[in-house]
Amino acid sequence: MSGFLSTGNAMPVALSALPVRPLDAFRGEVLSALGDGRRLLLLSGLAQTTVGTQLLAALADDTRGEIGLVSTIVADSYPALTPDWPAAHYFERELYEQWGVRPEGHPWLKPVRFPRGGPAIGEVEFFRVSGAEVHEVAVGPVHAGVIEPGHFRFNCHGERVLHLEISLGYQHRGVEAALRGGPDKRSIHLAETVAGDTSAGHATAYCQLIEALSGTLCSPRAYSLRVVALELERIANHIGDLGALAGDVGFLPAASYCGRLRGDILNLTALLCGSRLGRGWIRPGGVAHEPGAEILHELRRGLAEAERDMRNAVDLLWKSSSLRARFENTGTLTGRAALDLGIVGPPARASGIDRDCRRDFAAALYQGRAPAVAVGDGGDVFARAMQRWREIENAIGLLDRLLGEPGEGDPLAPVETLMPDSIALSLVEGWRGEILHLATTDAAGHLAYYKIVDPSFRNWFALAIAMRGQAISDFPLCNKSFNLSYCGHDL
């Protein structure tokens, strides 16, 4: 990637080494690298300078595990990348909202989170379809179930959805802003509550970033114990969602078994750290404490037992023809659309995209033990359900090996102060997909800028695309097959 500063996952570089290119060169280099098969990891403001806003682009070379960084400085507008590269569309909407920089030529700069100082939430023009017999269905922010708030607007012709508008921001609570100026005693807890069902994922992304910026190396055992929490989180959420999918088509036996099994896996996490969501476990420098051989043995035993029951419950799913009839050919996301939108995680892999941070950006966390990457095809609800199950199987295999041989070393290494004037990115494959945390430090080694990209940020639009042409009654099913985070998106 010519013109880029080359780095990797959790590899800090000096801010002074970050190329600041003229706008034309920046656009040209970014678009040319994307055209050559690189992937857009991030497009964001980075700092306010005396001459304008510094924009940062981070591109991934997934095959080589490299990250390229390049920046430019713009006054108050620049020619948008979206018309040339659709995957930039959401980043540019965010950029406009957070930094006031207008990407000229962007098709529609709708608000992303409705932060303070902007338009009131909900006061926005929605995409509208007009014509005889076309009608709109508006849902939310308060939904029918115990679900986070968000607003959905379906443009329908009869039962058929022509387009779905997703308008979020109701959970916006200022997480990124609160992380800036740290690290302090609140930081790790803020990381754990970016998305409660991904406490281990976001805590790991945060800790990996802090460790990179402070030059901390955890013990092999500490990395193993982190992976244990991450993979348990993956299994718990996937099996819970398989149960919820069964529930959405009225197949109650599998729904209740999987619901119970989700809890059983959460209880295994609680064996490690006392919290079912894995709170208080992952800390900068490693994990909070040494669990001891007995607990690890108990985890392995509990997991084997849960695996037998999971196989039994999930087998019911695949063998129910009425359930398959609802899952198959519903909410299809083509591989092309998945690539164009830059989506990540199980929905991307279920559409045939072979991408997984655990293998592509292993870092010390998964070095030498990345599990097999399951890649599906079809991209429909069935493919996403099957994808979840295959990822559970791979996670169980990995956990079985790890719990048998967790490695040696202290649970917690001391963490020094952060290097001044540096920048680093941290990538972790959470259960929903790629979690990105980025930070820069100031001259005193405090966090100057902190950016979080939850996989949901990349994937929400894919749900809208998957719903096109579908029956509105299939929305719960499509929605659950993605199960995206509102709070992780809204921050």
Binding site: Q171, G196, D197, R276, D315
Partner: protein, 251 residues
């Protein structure tokens, strides 16, 4: 059909025998903290300095811990040089009065059962509308767990319903973001009188880890008349079940 029956036999009966038997909790579970002022080292305020949510204060009478702010991270107990703070296995944390959540020594929060007339009105059923208002979805996950076969809140007549019009009250989670304020208050208004308000989790009670964020309201205590506070981050499903059953006078 035969396979489904076989699976049913294999998966077994899993509902916890609560409240007839105490719940099984993991050994490291952090429940109700107990403070021992006698052990406190004079002039030491390490617990106060370590607390990420400002839940702890030390006065001349000793330490004071506000369960409404506590996220049960256990940092205070870890840094205390005298072991004056201990997180016990006690899952019973709910209280009817906000002031009762402030613990000194080995006090326990208390839940006063609802007035007799209201309990008669509710009969054996409590229908709640859940309002998710800006947290991390952790409390919502544990509220959802109340519906699984292990906790099975519906065996006590407790259910979460789709519309505020069908509800006897609201259970709010999250610090109440500015962006959710109007929707949350309108949902509350849509519930018919008499109605209950339950604040579940540190965020809804006090703002939790998001306290003082300009994007949120520091919880609902100043905006809605709360009948039951359920501390935790998130509260364990047994903590929620315990609070709800006490509110209904069933425990």
């Amino acid at each position: 059909m035969f396979k489904a029956l076989l699976a049913r036999a294999r998966q077994g009966h899993r509902t916890a025998r609560y409240p007839a038997q105490p719940p099984s909790l993991p050994p490291l579970f952090r429940g109700r903290p107990v403070l021992d002022p006698a052990k406190c080292v004079a002039g030491c305020a390490r617990c106060v300095e370590s607390c990420p949510t400002g839940a702890l204060q030390v006065s001349a009478a000793g330490p004071e811990l506000d369960l409404g702010r506590c996220i049960f991270c256990g940092e205070c107990a870890d840094v205390c040089p005298a072991d004056a703070i201990d997180f016990t296995q006690d899952w019973r944390l709910a209280a009817s009065e906000r002031a009762d959540l402030v613990l000194t020594g080995d006090g326990e929060p208390r839940v006063a059962a609802l007035r007799h007339e209201l309990r008669r009105l509710l009969g054996r059923s409590l229908r709640l509308r859940q309002i998710s208002a800006g947290g991390c979805n952790g409390c919502e996950a544990e509220v959802n767990a109340l519906g699984n076969v292990v906790f099975d809140a519906s065996r006590f007549g407790i259910d979460f319903v789709a519309s505020p019009r069908h509800a006897d009250g609201v259970l709010v989670t999250g610090p109440l973001t500015a962006n959710m304020k109007e929707a949350a208050l309108r949902t509350y208004e849509a519930v018919a009188e008499p109605k209950l308000v339950i604040a579940a989790g540190a965020c809804a009670i006090s703002g939790g880890i998001f306290r003082t964020h300009p994007e949120a309201c520091d919880g609902i205590a100043d905006l809605l008349p709360v009948d039951l506070y359920i501390p935790g981050c998130p509260p364990h499903p047994f903590t929620m079940l315990d609070g709800l059953l006490r509110l209904l006078g069933r425990l």
